[in-house]
Amino acid sequence: MAPLAPRSGDAVFANVERVNAELVTLTYGAIVRQLLTDFEEVEEVNKQLDQMGYNIGIRLIDEFLAKSNITRCVDFKETAEVIAKVGFKMFLGVTASVGNWDADGTECSLILEDNPLVDFVELPETCQGLYYCNVLCGVIRGALEMVSMKTEVRWVRDMLCGDDAYELKLKLLEQVPEEYPYKDDE
């Protein structure tokens, strides 16, 4: 059977079951508040959010591959485009733009125009240094790790902290070679 054609983010999003974004916004807010109460330190909260994201990412990649029919990307540039145009769209209903490539093509920015996680949110003074949407970094890192790419993802601009956009820095650290033949479980 011929491989199925890759589907656009819009096409996938149109066909998945959807919920009101406000439910997600408020639930995410509840999670962040709980973490802030439990850990008190914003550093630790950032770490926890990233970890939660990672847990999501390693599972989410399966659904992503199954529904989008995306096959292997030729290079990291294509990977970033696919995340921005298909990945974000498929789950959050928004797209990101990719830019600021470095010379080796291993580091770029993902810029979000719209971010459903931050509606109604205002960070108080006590939360300085909190990367409110850090869960997204973890998701991308986790998902890419499952397709043999070790990456580092961090926030560089955050509108909640007074910047003019939401910008993620995505850096490819290592392409892990796949081991072949695959070992069966002993």
């Binding site: 009101n20 408020l26 995410y28 939660m52 498929m90 789950f91 007074g162 003019d164």
Partner: protein
Amino acid sequence: MAVGGHFMEKLKQKWNAQEDEKWGPNIERKERRDMIGVGRTKQYANALEKSLGKGKQEVSLNAFAFLFSELVQYNQTRVDNIAELERRLEDAGYGVGLRVLELLCHREKGNRRETRLLGILSFVHSTVWKSLFGKVADSLEKGTEHEDEYMISERELLVNRFISVPKDMGNFNCGAFVAGIVKGVLDGAGFPAVVSAHFVPVEGQPRPRTTILIKFSEEVLQREARLG
């Protein structure tokens, strides 16, 4: 709430008038604000300046399911028993409920909220449910044994959609989160109640439905009786 809104409106008018004086009325206010931002290092986002939106934006159900699953898993690491886990989920939901009440009263009710028992119950059953879960709840019933008990039932509660509870966790129901939301809405509207989520087996169905049991506190019923 109405008073607060009025005050904010006045403040905004004043602020706009000051700005008009400074910049002349030709430049759009929004643009000006951006221009002001240029000189400063950082300007924190002000949620009150953004429009509320119609609440029609959507995300994929699975994005929510992933997030909710993390909420449950995280809370599992912080507790020793099921009761505590349910309480923590309820706490998380409570915060959501308070906010949903404020949001929906403003958006759907023109800044008015229900003051009667049946009114607030139908607000939860219809308005809140519809906004959060995309549908009206399957049923709203009055308890047969106690005057102060009401039940909202849902065949397949959205949060329980992808969740199967392990045998050793007994009657644990992730609907505790939704119970918390309901409690938040009721408390915020001045109807304190104890709210809990329970599985109820349904004949001929493989999966039980979830019933949110609402037990109002005495003062609520007394007030209701006074109002006649």
